[in-house]
């Protein structure tokens, strides 16, 4: 099977998944109590039946459910994710506005956690049984068991408030009007805390996985072959053990992409990071259905895309896949 077939196969599958997600979300949210009209009216501090009716007609909430679904699916096919009457903007615009921030945050967290996790896991495996292994293993257990929001709060207080090393909230220094490199540095500065906090749990996960995987591969026959050639332990462990051990970690990492987006909801909320995780939570609280569905859809699409990407990486890293699939 060549690359094109593989890609088109995965894309068709991805589209099916997205269709199912769209369907699920639609009915899930419709099952919720209260409709957007009530929310709007409620928050306005005053409401009467006429206002509610006006709002419902606006939202198409007076249409039969199936009609609403049909309109919704038709729109999605053309990437029209609906219109947020609450924010008076097309949902796609809202999501696209926020998407870069989330991609930056989750991307940074992903890279940090994967890089750190792989290195830590590999180190631990090479020193299996020694104190550095115990230290790394213990550390990753600690990260693994600590609530994300707790770490977020603690680090906010310690590094931002007490030590003043990094800004506590936000995406960039507002009103500073930096441009170019200065702006990039400023954003990077703001990114440190949220991305590390978000990445810690996954660092732990990947480190544990990498360690186990390294130890398993270390027992493989071809490692014995490599040692029999007279290769040094460092080369054996880098070229033979690590290269094979990293493959299942990459697979896991791909699967974890969805969790990363989920974790972003917490992180973005605590750190006031203007990404889609927060947009999603806000939309949920406000019952802004079209936005919520749009964000769900886009983040799922992100995950699907990400999975395809990791599959692709996996394919490039592991020549066997072509034969197996």
């Amino acid at each position: 099977m060549n690359l094109l077939q593989f890609l088109s196969g995965r894309l068709v599958k991805g589209v099916l998944v997205l269709f199912a997600i769209a369907l699920l979300n639609f009915f899930l949210i419709r099952a919720a109590p209260g409709d957007p009209a009530q929310v709007l009216a409620g928050e306005a501090g005053a409401a009467d039946a006429q206002l509610l009716e006006q709002l419902r007609a606006r939202f198409g909430l007076d249409q039969p459910l199936l009609t609403q679904l049909w309109i919704y699916l038709k729109g999605y096919a053309t990437l029209d994710l609906g219109f947020s009457y609450r924010q008076q903007r097309p949902v796609l615009d809202l999501v696209l506005d926020r998407l870069p921030a989330t991609l930056l945050l989750t991307g940074a967290a992903f890279i940090v956690s994967l890089g750190l996790g792989v290195v830590m896991g590999a180190l631990a495996a090479r020193r299996a049984g020694r104190w550095s292994d115990s230290l790394i293993t213990t550390l990753s257990l600690v990260f693994y068991a600590t609530p994300l929001f707790w770490i977020a709060l603690m680090s906010q207080i310690l590094f931002s408030l007490k030590l003043g090393l990094v800004p506590n909230v936000g995406f960039e220094t507002i009103g500073a009007n930096y441009t170019g490199l200065a702006r990039a540095l400023d954003i990077g500065h703001h990114l440190i805390l949220p991305s590390i906090t978000l990445g810690l749990f996954f660092t732990a996960l990947y480190a544990r996985m990498m360690r186990a995987s390294m130890l398993e591969v270390a027992g493989a026959d071809f490692v014995k072959t490599a040692r029999a050639k007279g290769l040094s332990p460092a080369i054996v462990s880098r070229r033979h053990v690590a290269r094979n051990a990293i493959l299942p970690v990459v697979t896991l990492a791909g699967l974890q992409a969805g969790q990363l987006v989920g974790g972003a909801v917490l992180t973005e909320t605590v750190f006031a990071w203007p990404g889609i995780g927060r947009l999603m939570f806000d939309a949920l609280v406000q019952r802004d259905y079209s936005v919520l569905l749009g964000v769900f859809f886009i983040s799922s699409a992100m995950v699907v895309g990400f999975n395809i990407l990791t599959d692709l990486v996996y394919r490039l890293a592991d020549p066997r896949i072509e034969a197996a699939s």
């Binding site: 099977m1 077939q5 088109s8 196969g9 068709v12 599958k13 493989a220 026959d221 071809f222 014995k224 072959t225 490599a226 040692r227 029999a228 050639k229 007279g230 290769l231 040094s232 332990p233 080369i235 070229r239 033979h240 290269r243 094979n244 493959l247 890293a317 592991d318 020549p319 066997r320 034969a323 699939s325």
Partner: protein, 540 residues
């Protein structure tokens, strides 16, 4: 055979003792073993599983598992004691002075590296040759081990090669730096006979060409007879006998060696009573089974595992289904039980058309055809007692548990175990004993037909002989028809009345065993027979 004169030995192992960790079943993996190999000589270390033969090889290479520690003795390579070397010095010895080939060609190469890179590494590790030379040398090596199109193969990944090709790559790699000693740890055990014959031949050629000494580890006396200059027999970590190949094979001194040799099945089929012509108990007509690899787009790949296979089996008869891996013999065996659903064809048990039965009817009639499996460790549920395992069948067909258990006790005695085994769990038994339990399970349903799928392949030779005898006895007693699926022509020769040879899903030749062995008609049968190792010594 090479000239094994009194040259200075390449390797001499003196009083080697290897300690096992505290909780192991014995104290030493190897005890007080002394061996030596002269240049250009092939020394075979023979022993059954657990005898410690592989440990010696690993000790020489300095690749012992962490838990196993050398406790005494010396391993001298050209006079230098390897046990006293530190890791860095040992690293230099590996590959340059000693090369090694392993048993599993499928897993011994790094799956994510190109072949040439894996060979390059050997030079790189020892800082030999310039980059450009490495490439030329790699190609030369690949050519020398007889690989087709070496330039293309060098760029390939291991999974693109067959098992035999991979083992050739391993040999090329082991010989890359022209070491004085080559250690081959069961290098052909995982290969088909025809491939095995080729590899053995290659090894012998290379040895003669380069004068490399070979330490060959094996359990297979056929292979030993084929390749050994000298033989060392290992039992439970102790060296029981050592001598030239001729001495040991024709005139064994130690009981254990004698027993082992006696257990090697002969290629000459024994005289068997003629089968009384009767209505066939099992008849298979035009059986077909195609495996399709599904893929989302593009054409599916097809493998014909059974292609118009037809045969019959009479009461009391044993039909051998023989072939190499991938020939479809196991598929056919399983189709007969409908463990695998055939795509087409007809399977009849007496008058019953088994292949037409619906699910529940099939379940009713399953008891008439039973199976003995290959792996004695995987074929018994580790969480059930032996009694339960044997009685489950009758219980599924309506017998009360109590009666079934009583019957299980009888059956255990029939297969040579004690009746009180019913309360024990499979892990308390040895491989041979488990296989007996497996046979008892099959017999519990009083079947007409037994399908034995490589039933003795996973067993050591001595155990193998016992199980074969048991199967023969039971067949005579109960008049069973047996479909015996095996890759081992020696075993087939001993137990089968008739043999069907399979190649790529088709039966290419069928005939009475004696006739077929004496005058094979089909080219493939001929090739198979010619490839059986040690044919000259054991058999003809």
């Amino acid at each position: 055979m090479a000239d094994v004169s009194k040259a200075e030995p390449v390797l001499s192992i003196e009083n080697l003792t290897l300690a096992l960790p505290p909780l192991a079943d014995r104290a030493h993996a190897v005890e007080n073993v002394s061996l030596s190999i002269a240049p250009g000589e092939t020394l075979c270390i023979v022993g059954e599983s657990g005898s410690g033969k592989s440990m010696i090889a690993h000790a020489v290479m300095g690749l012992l598992p962490k838990a196993v520690k050398p406790k005494g003795g010396a391993i001298k390579l050209a006079g230098r004691d390897l046990l006293s070397l530190d890791e860095a010095a040992m690293q230099d010895v590996r590959g340059r002075e000693i090369g090694m080939i392993f048993q599993e060609p499928m897993t011994s190469l790094n799956p994510v590296m190109r072949i040439e890179d894996q060979i390059f590494e050997t030079f790189e590790a020892h800082g030999l040759l310039a980059k450009s030379e490495r490439r030329a040398r790699t190609l030369a090596l690949l050519t020398e081990v007889g690989l087709p199109d070496p330039a293309r193969l060098a760029k390939a990944y291991p999974h693109e090669l067959s098992g035999g090709q991979r083992q050739r790559v391993m040999i090329a790699m082991a010989l890359a730096l022209e070491p004085k000693l080559l250690i081959a740890d069961e290098p052909t055990t995982a290969l088909d006979v025809t491939t095995q014959a080729q590899i053995l031949k290659l090894l012998d050629n290379l040895r003669q060409k380069h004068g490399t000494a070979v330490l060959f580890i094996t359990h297979d006396f056929g292979v030993v007879a084929e390749i050994a200059d000298r033989i060392a027999v290992l039992q439970q970590g102790k060296l029981v006998e050592q001598g030239t190949a001729d001495q040991v094979l024709s005139n064994p001194q130690h009981d254990y060696t004698k027993r082992l040799l006696a257990a090697v099945p002969s290629l000459i089929p024994p005289q068997r009573p003629a089968i009384v012509e009767s209505k066939p108990v099992l008849s298979v007509t035009d059986l077909g089974k195609v495996y399709r690899k599904r893929s989302f787009f593009g054409a599916a790949r097809e493998v014909k595992a059974a292609d118009n296979v037809s045969f019959t089996l009479a009461k009391g008869e044993t039909l051998g289904l023989v072939g190499e891996s991938g020939s479809g013999k196991s598929t056919v065996g399983r189709c007969c039980l409908r463990l695998i659903e055939p795509d087409g064809g007809r399977i009849m048990l007496g008058d019953l058309v088994l292949s037409d039965l619906g699910k529940s009817a099939l379940r009713q009639h399953r008891k008439r055809i039973q199976m003995i499996f290959q792996d004695p460790f995987a074929s018994l549920n580790p969480r059930q007692t032996v009694g339960r395992i044997i009685s489950d069948g009758p219980v599924a067909h309506g017998t009360s548990r109590k009666d079934a258990l009583a019957r299980a006790k009888e059956l255990l005695e029939l297969v040579g175990l004690s009746a009180n085994a019913v309360d024990r769990y499979p892990h308390e038994f040895s491989g041979g004993q488990r296989q007996r339990v497996g046979i008892a399970r099959a017999l519990a349903l009083e079947p007409d037909v037994l399908v034995a799928d490589e039933a003795v392949s996973a067993l050591d030779v001595s155990v193998q002989a016992q199980i074969l005898t048991l199967i023969k006895e039971i067949q005579q007693r109960l008049g069973l028809a047996i479909l015996f699926v095996t890759h081992d022509l020696r075993v087939a020769a001993q137990i089968c009345d008739r043999i069907a040879v399979m190649q790529r899903g088709r039966i290419v030749e069928t005939g009475p065993t004696a006739a077929l062995f004496a005058a094979p008609q089909h080219a493939y049968t001929q090739a198979l027979l010619a490839a059986v190792p040690g044919g000259a010594r054991f058999g003809h």
